[in-house]
């Protein structure tokens, strides 16, 4: 794996996601990882999230989001690779 590799993944989160804390939390966590994490659609039980960055950090984003803030329960995350740059 080259150190400059990046990828763009679409995360589809399902669960109990309606708490207002969640979307700012996502933005903050992406910021802490230095990657792009843009919410493209959000409802109380589904959030779509475009994540772009080095693959290891995209993995880290998935892990962080799977736990999330205490008033949110993420039941599942579906990941779809949109783009992969070596």
């Amino acid at each position: 794996m080259s150190s400059n590799a990046t990828c763009s993944d679409m995360f589809t989160l399902r669960g109990d996601l309606g708490a207002p804390s969640f979307l700012p939390w996502i933005a903050r966590h992406a910021g802490r990882l230095g990657i792009i994490g843009r919410v493209t659609a959000a409802s109380a039980d589904e959030v779509s999230l475009l994540v772009e960055g080095p693959p290891d950090l995209v993995d880290a984003m998935e892990l962080g989001v799977s736990l999330g803030p205490i008033d949110v329960w993420v039941e599942s995350i579906k990941r779809e690779r949109l783009l992969s740059r070596p």
């Binding site: 794996m1 150190s3 400059n4 802490r32 990882l33 230095g34 990657i35 080095p54 290891d56 950090l57």
Partner: protein
Amino acid sequence: MALSRDVPPQVVIPTFVDGRELAVWRSQSGRIAAWDDRCPHRGMRLSHGFVRGESLSCIYHGWSYNEAGLCQRIPAHPDLVPPEAIRVPTVAAVESDGIIWVASEPASQPPPTLTGLVALRSLTVEAPATAIATAAGMPIDQDGALRPDLAGIACVLLVQPIPGDRTVLHVLVASNASPAAQAAVSRALEDLRRRVESERLAA
């Protein structure tokens, strides 16, 4: 908050500024840095870490950070170049006249000048600064210092309050004091501490 001589290259120490826990360390080339004493990965105290070259590494998983606090290496993911976003919050640290000073807020003025003095030792007293000032029979001056004569030598005691109603005294003595005179000051400090602490126990 510490004597330069007590933080030689590759040493990291824990301390406090305004109640905030800090790790202060010196790189191999001699640079001083002061950070939050907590690894952003899983919260381990960085003051338990180790210094290699110009980086401080956490003892738990070896995440290492350069002198600006930016993460350089995550050993579990050796191929990953850590983003600049992964960093340890830092505070300003400067060194002058053998003393390391830190400021959690941007300092409004430079540290006081302490020329003609040499750093002797730091010691922790289980009492607030006011109790020490009372025992020394003088107020703390605008530099945050007590200036008593101990064992017949003019001394400067820089006062660092730390949590738990404790105080660290960073002690300087006249630079022409002989090693024997400095040892006598060190013993006089032990005596001062005993007096302050026993008065507190009695009260």
